[in-house]
Structure formats: C-alpha cells, structure tokens
C-alpha cells in the first residue's frame, strides 16, 4: 500500500510573541512540523508495518522546507521518503489552495491512502483533508480514531461528539486522524542518523492557485480589562471573600 502522510511546516506557536501594538514577532520562532501531523505519520507507519507498503511524507510549503533539520525531523518519525513541493509563493495558503497543490502532487506520484492530521499548528482550520478528498473525488472522512485493514478496504472508527461510527472505507481514500489515534514515536539517535540517508523528492512547484480572500490584519486579541483583585494569605479568609464575591455576581 502506498500511504501518503501530509505534513505542514510552520512557525512554532509557543515561540511567537505578541508585541505591545498587538502585532506578532516571529524572530524567535523556528519552523517545525505540526504536532498533529505526527499522528498522521505514525498512523501511516503502523498501517504500512501491518499490511506492507511504503510511507511517503508530502509537504507543500515555503523554503522552510529546504531546512535539512526539518527534513530530517520528518524522516526520523517513520517515513520512508519525503516529497516536497516548495515555493516562496506558497506562504499563507488557505486550505483550498493547499488542497489543490496536494491534489496535483498526488496525481503525479499516485497513492492508495492519504492521511492528514487533525489540524495544522498555525491555522488549525481542520479542512485540508476534507477539501483534498472532495477534489480527488475519493472517500473522505475526518475525526478517524482507529484504522483497521480488512481485505482490500479499511474499517475505521470515527469519533463524533456523542457517538462512534464504524465505517468501511474503500481505497483510495483521504482520512484525517484525531490527535488521540496514537502516540507518535520519538526518534532515537538511530532513526535520526538513518533519516539523513532517506530520499527527499522535490516535485515541480507551479504558481500558487488563486486565493479567495485578502488578508486584512493579524493581531493578538485585545486584552479584556480585568479587575485583578488578587487575595493571598489565610485560605479560609480568602475563601470567605471569594464566596462573597460569587454571591454578589
């Protein structure tokens, strides 16, 4: 089975700072694979280890994808190969633009199954898999929490808000997995060394597809002013004050 795990490389949120004027400072933020993408890579590896086949990472993005540390990090998590489609035109793509670029890459490389994480670490639209599946015209599901191969198809468990659906999925298909489907492996020294020898395939990068919106601003939320009435000291006394505050609400 040829399993593709989609990966997005973006600035690590915890190292982005909001300036006093509410704009964002990315100076200290490094590019990194999204945490939820690792669930897709792990699910792909586990499935390939069960049924046989190869696991290929596929990433559409900017020149951040040229960073060898980022590439090695991806390849050390269980991928056999990494395919990249990189262009500096591909900054700030929306989910439909990304899906279109993934679609054209997949039509070149072929696939049996595409796995996508729950959402990217920057935008978290949770839509690339859904939009990609519709473009490819193949069976598409989100919130997939378990994947079991059965003959020529898969049986998946899908986690809804109040129920679990069991669904038979013929291949090829696009599945977005939950953050709870597995615990992604942490690469050891052996995997990191081996990652340096795995192939990276740079696919032709065309012009960015037309977007459907104009950016207006990206700003940290306005702080709601809070009373900040903070009490320290005797717990019973503090609790009595809080009880009075709550009763007055």
């Amino acid at each position: 089975m040829k399993i593709i795990a989609a990966i997005k490389v973006s600035a690590e949120a915890q190292d982005i700072e909001a300036r006093p004027d509410r704009t964002l400072n990315f100076d200290r933020a490094q590019s990194k694979i999204g945490a939820y993408d690792l669930n897709a890579v792990e699910a792909a590896r586990q499935l390939a280890d069960t049924v046989g086949g190869e696991v290929i990472g596929l990433s559409v993005g900017t020149s951040a994808l040229a960073n060898s540390k980022v590439r090695k990090d991806a390849l050390s998590r269980g991928l056999d190969q990494l395919d990249v489609v990189a262009s500096d035109e591909y900054a700030d793509l929306d989910s439909f633009q990304t899906a279109q670029l993934l679609q054209s890459a997949l039509q070149q490389t072929g696939y049996d199954l595409v796995l996508v994480g729950a959402g990217s670490s920057d935008v978290y639209a949770q839509q690339v898999g859904n939009q990609l599946g519709a473009l490819l015209g193949v069976p598409t599901l989100n919130a997939v929490n378990k994947i079991t191969p059965e003959g020529d198809h898969l049986v998946v468990e899908r986690l809804l808000e109040d129920a679990v659906q069991v669904i038979e999925v013929p291949l090829p298909a696009v599945l977005s997995v939950t953050s709870g489907i597995n615990t992604p492996r942490i690469a050891g020294m052996k995997e990191i060394l081996a990652a340096g020898k795995k192939p990276v395939n740079e696919l032709a990068a065309g012009a960015a597809p037309a977007g459907s919106a104009q950016a207006v601003s990206t700003l940290a939320p306005e702080q709601v002013s809070r009373q900040q009435n903070i009490v320290e000291g005797d717990p019973a006394e503090a609790a009595a004050q809080l009880a009075a505050y709550l009763k007055a609400l």
Partner: protein, 286 residues
C-alpha cells in the same frame, strides 16, 4: 438583504444567530423546520450526511449563495470542507464575522487573523460567535437530493458512554487543571460546581494527557470556546491556548498556588493558595 444559508446536521441555534447577517434559509439534513430560519429546505437524509455535499453545493450554486454557515461538529465540518471545494473556495473557521471580513484564531489563539473574503463565504462558526435572535418561520419545503457516499459504508453507530455535555450553554463553568494531584480529588471541584450550579470543564492535559475527563469537557483553542457569565479556574496556570476559550467570560476567577501564574493577569478575582485548603473552605462558605 443577503440570503444566508445555514446547513444543519442536527439540533442547532446557528440559524437564530445567522439572523444578524440577513434572511436565513436553512438546509436541514434531518426533517422539519430549523429554529430561526425564515425557510427550511428539509433533505431527510439517509446514511452518512456527508454524502449530500455535492447536491447541496449544486443547490447553493444555483441559488447564488454568498454566505453559507456550518456548526463546528465533526460532520458539519466535513460537509463544510467538501462543499467549499465543490464551490471552489476555502472553508474558514469564523471567530468574528463582520462581512465581508472574517476573523479566525491562529497560532493556538495567540492572534486573530482577519481577512476579507471574495466570492462565497463558507464559514464554520464557533459557539457564541452569533448570539441567537428571535424570529423565523416554520415553513418547510421537502427537497429530494441524491447522495453520493463514494463507497463509504456506515456499519454501525455506537453512542459514546458517559453523559453528554453542552458547555457552551452553561452560564457558569468551573475549570480544573493539573493543579489537582489525583483524579479522585476532582470531587472537590464537582462539589464546588454543584454549589454554584456550574458545569465542570478542564484544561487540555486533563482530557488528552491523563484522560481524567472526556475531551468534550476541555476548553481551549482546539476544544470548546465559551462565553459564560462566570469562569472559575482551579489549578489552571492560564496558558493562552486555554484562556482563549474563556477570555470572553463576564467574570473570571482563579485559584492557583503559584502567584506568578498567567491566569491571575486575566482574572477579576484571584486567590493565591493551595486548592486543597481553599476549595473546602469555599464550598463551606457558599
């Protein structure tokens, strides 16, 4: 007046909220009228609702839809993504709607990215973004759509164990975090919630780290976002990814033993103290 389309996969207040944007036409995958809609087109779907994405997209195209709204549940989200693809646009999460401008949270709630949408806006609308308004009609037109499930076969649907919870409807919420040393200790928070008439919620590590509470109860950028009248955070440090889910609460109260915890910067009332001493005293005093 803009005709706003609401796609309903189950009970929803979205059409009531959508009245703020224009006249509302609901496409109900179920049967009967959708509250708040001026008119409901009832699909009476069978099988997986996502199979109706293409015929619904065709209907929206034919009617020249400019704004299409979805709830945030799993099935609505997939429908939104597929329908957006068929309409040739992106499905966007909406945390703020001032048409044509849409704001969505990015970088784990660190910022709101605002963009001006060209063409049809396909929006997944978070709870509380469009507060429900009065009005609407019971007018229903049944429509026949032919689904295409692309070979997917629903084998079974098993209700999840445990109780279901609608945090976004709760007026008061008590949130618990890793300040609690053991799962059994959450009883203290339950007693407090019972006294306050509050729902119990938690931070992400409690739901997805130690699994002490179901994921439906976690608050944050990838969990629930709420606007309760009171949010009382116990043993929660107040990371931005969590607070973004409650920072529109009318009143925020924090109890934490670390006086430098960021939660105090966002609290109206805070107690620096050991929750194991403060909570029993507070429960007794209420």
């Amino acid at each position: 007046m803009t005709e706003v389309f609401v796609i309903a996969t189950g009970p929803t207040t979205l059409a009531q909220g959508a009245r703020a944007l224009g006249s509302v036409t609901a496409v109900n995958l179920g049967s009967g009228p959708v509250p708040g809609a001026d008119k409901t087109l009832a699909v009476n779907a069978a099988g997986l609702v996502e199979g109706y994405a293409k015929p619904i997209a065709e209907l929206l195209s034919a009617r020249g839809a400019e704004v299409v709204l979805f709830d945030t549940d799993v099935q609505s989200r997939l429908l939104a993504g597929k329908i957006a693809s068929y309409l040739g646009t992106a499905a966007r999460n909406a945390a703020e709607i001032k048409l044509p401008n849409i704001g969505r949270m990015v970088y784990g709630g660190l910022a709101v990215a605002t963009e001006s949408v060209a063409g049809v806006a396909v929006l997944v609308v978070g709870p509380g973004v469009l507060p429900p308004l009065e009005g609407g009609s019971d007018a229903v037109e049944n429509i026949a759509l032919t689904p295409d499930d692309a070979g997917l076969k629903l084998v079974s649907t098993q209700p999840k164990g445990g109780e279901s919870v609608n945090l976004s409807a709760a007026k008061r919420v008590v949130g618990v975090g890793r300040g609690f040393a053991a799962q059994d200790d959450l009883d203290l928070a339950r007693q407090l919630a019972a006294k306050l008439g509050a729902e119990l919620a938690c931070s992400r590590p409690i739901a997805e780290g130690v699994n002490w509470m179901p994921t439906e109860r976690y608050i944050g950028v990838s969990g629930a976002t709420l606007r309760p009248e009171l949010y009382l955070a116990v043993g929660i440090s107040g990371q931005i990814q969590h607070m973004v889910g409650v920072n529109k609460a009318k009143a925020i109260v924090a109890i934490n033993k670390d006086k430098n915890a960021p939660v105090f910067k966002q609290a109206d009332f805070g107690i620096v103290g050991d929750l194991y001493q403060v909570l029993p005293a507070l429960i007794a005093a209420l």
